[in-house]
């Protein structure tokens, strides 16, 4: 049972345009959401997060939006740059216990010059 789903395995975007990566979840107990970025041969690195008490969090070119009623979050990258080409994972946690993260399958983003 996949509690966190990224339904697009890949996405291709022109340099300078907006990249939008989507993520859906099923567990209503999730109250914290994170995005990670992964380059080949490296471990994932934390990018941005959002608490369920907010609907938007912004950090430079990266913005995460949360729609709790739809159980949906998205990551916007504006403007997209070649260095943004990577695999992006969304993850969710319920703020109790040992803070396990549940990850989506990942979306491979390719930024074309």
């Amino acid at each position: 049972d996949q509690q966190v789903k990224q339904n697009s395995p890949s996405l291709s975007v022109q340099e300078g345009r907006i990249s939008i990566l989507n993520c859906d979840y099923t567990n209503s107990m999730f109250d914290y959401f994170l995005w990670y970025k992964k380059y080949p041969a490296e471990g994932p690195t934390f990018l941005i997060s959002i608490s369920s008490i907010k609907d938007k969090n912004e950090d430079g070119r990266f913005t995460v939006f949360l729609n709790k009623s739809a159980k949906h979050l998205s990551l916007h990258i504006v403007p997209s740059q070649p260095g943004d080409s990577a695999v992006y994972f969304c993850a969710a946690s319920a703020n109790r216990g040992a803070q396990k993260l549940v990850f989506g399958q990942g979306t491979r983003l390719t930024i074309n010059p």
């Binding site: 990224q6 914290y32 994170l34 490296e42 994932p44 934390f46 703020n95 040992a98 990850f103």
Partner: protein, 113 residues
């Protein structure tokens, strides 16, 4: 700077062998995690530990065990390696709290022949 170090980048073992994967973090984190990453499945949690000598099963613990004798070190053990355990293994650590991002090592690519 945050550092999670996995002892091997690449490892080749034979079916039935006992395999040890080692992970060390230098951030004084209480929590440590072992994941495996497979195409189309994202990151799946094998085991985690929230304190020395404490461990909890993740989503796919079968065929694995762990050891945490010191705060900075978390070992993953494949008791009798099988070909379906060929995968990328990722170690992570974090402070307690559902809003604390996990920091990852660069992974160990394990092949079981």
């Amino acid at each position: 700077d945050v550092k999670v170090t996995q002892s091997s980048r690449y490892l080749v073992k034979r079916t039935g062998e006992k395999v040890f994967l080692e992970c060390v973090q230098d951030m004084d984190h209480e929590n440590m995690f072992w994941y495996r990453q497979d195409p189309g499945l994202g990151l799946r949690l094998i085991y985690f530990s929230y304190d020395v000598k404490m461990k909890e099963k993740g989503d796919i613990p079968e065929g694995y065990s762990v050891s945490r004798e010191k705060k900075e070190r978390f070992s993953l053990i494949l008791e009798s390696a099988s070909t379906n355990q060929t995968s990328m293994y990722l170690c992570a650590s974090s402070f307690p709290g559902g809003n604390q991002p996990q920091h990852f090592g660069d992974g160990t690519r394990l092949s079981i022949l």
